[in-house]
Symmetry: C2
Subunit: 244 residues, 2 copies
DNA sequence: CGTAGACTTGAGAGTCATCAACGTAAGTGG
DNA sequence: CCACTTACGTTGATGACTCTCAAGTCTACG
């Protein structure tokens, strides 16, 4: 299917839902903004989608024009090195901003692809810089969000065992889901094992084996992609050295 | 020695060297600023130092108040996890901004320590946000520098062999030194093997062995901490998959 | 000159990757 | 409705890369 077959489309119904009414506002770009500033932000935000599993939002080398905030669904960012190996950089939940790494080189550094049915908000970078110039709270939030990305990208780099990595991964997901009002103990993984493995720099077989070990030890329940954190305390103990 | 014994001090002579006259301006915060904007930046920049090997600029948990630009010498940032393992996050050359990861949680997330005799420029975060509000070029540069940090932190995460990592490390250093007017082929490592190993998530012994292998293959010359890149092309070939 | 720390070198072990086969679920077309 | 396909996931056997442990060398410094 040609890329054009899945063009972004705007729907009048979704357009009505402004930042000021968005349940994600407190996690996203508008965090902390006054009502009238939020309306100014609304004016430069476009809602796109729905997209589907496998649809790309942008690809390596694309000209950088906009930032995207995930609105629903999940996205994966990844890059492909010269020998063709894929490298998953992150999984992005609603309220998270993606594309920030493209500002510096003015070109997208990675690919972003929907993991399931997803919608996003698009903000032109020019608009957001111009608006940040006038709205201190928005500039502040941009700095905060970028700073957070630096911190979490650093944390991922550490050398941890397969068990630590996987436990850290589950807890990180759990925390982020909780912040969005979902159950922190019972959730569905949007991504295949291969992507989890790649993200954690493990082989898919290792992920499978460690998951099985966690199940046997009663730490988690797992059925296909459905996860239950049965013993949060012990999972935290395993992941205690992994910052998240 | 108590921390107070090595307090930052300001010297009248260094104070005179403003951003507008700094040779690092094109790599650092003032990049792209007009003359009068640069003077406004000067007004909020303090020069500190010299510091010495082992002096800490800040530590995990310290309240976040300022960003620091390395002016001379080199800094290492690192963190210590709950089990006491050290984790090196990066080595910072003149013109590089450190402390950006502390904005989000408003507290320093890592320790920053001088690797040799070093000086820094300190900018209060409140000042820089206020100034960025009025100077579009400064805001733009802040976004760029933070974006770059996101990209490079992501790149470090990949799973590469010891040879790829070390080759990538040498080339990255080489590139950054070249950008600062130093020889890209002949330089001195400011950090001990232990730190290189830790940064690359390897054992010091592995670093030692791979260095030796590179020497036997004629890729590099190495005497203590003095490095010569003898066959840049083959080193690049080794590191071709490692983004830098 | 002696000690301490950094670095090197060697031997052995362990974690995890690789390779291969199999099982399972979902979708397709007959 | 069932064979077929395909992608995903699991399980087992084997091996490699790198870590750990240990000893030894070198350098700097007091």
């Amino acid at each position: 299917m040609p890329p054009s077959a899945r063009q972004p489309r705007l729907s009048p119904t979704t357009l009505r839902k402004a930042c000021s009414e968005c349940t994600l506002a407190e996690l996203c770009l508008p965090m902390g903004l006054e009502q009238d500033d939020m309306e100014r932000l609304d004016a430069v935000v476009e809602q796109l989608g729905p997209f589907h599993d496998g649809d790309h939002l942008y690809r390596v080398g694309d000209e950088f024009r906009s930032l995207y905030a995930v609105r629903s669904g999940q996205y994966k960012t990844y890059l492909v090195d010269e020998s063709g190996r894929e490298q998953v950089l992150g999984f992005h939940l609603p309220g998270e901003l993606i594309g920030l790494d493209a500002i510096y080189p003015d070109r997208h550094q990675c690919n972003a692809v929907a993991l399931d049915t997803a919608t996003v908000c698009r903000v032109s970078y020019d608009d957001i810089t111009a608006l940040s110039q006038r709205v201190p709270g928005l500039q502040r939030q941009m700095f905060r969000l970028m700073s957070r990305d630096i911190g979490s990208a650093q944390a991922l780099g550490g050398d941890y065992s397969a068990e630590e990595r996987l436990a850290g991964f589950l807890l990180n997901l759990s925390d982020r889901l909780r912040a969005r009002g979902y159950s922190p103990q019972h959730f569905v993984l949007a991504m295949p094992r291969r992507d989890i493995a790649n993200y954690l720099r493990l082989a898919p077989e290792t992920v499978s084996r460690v998951f099985k070990r966690f199940q046997r030890q009663g730490l988690i329940g797992l059925e296909r992609r459905e996860v239950r954190l049965l013993d949060m305390a012990r999972v935290q103990e395993l992941a205690r050295c992994v910052p998240h």
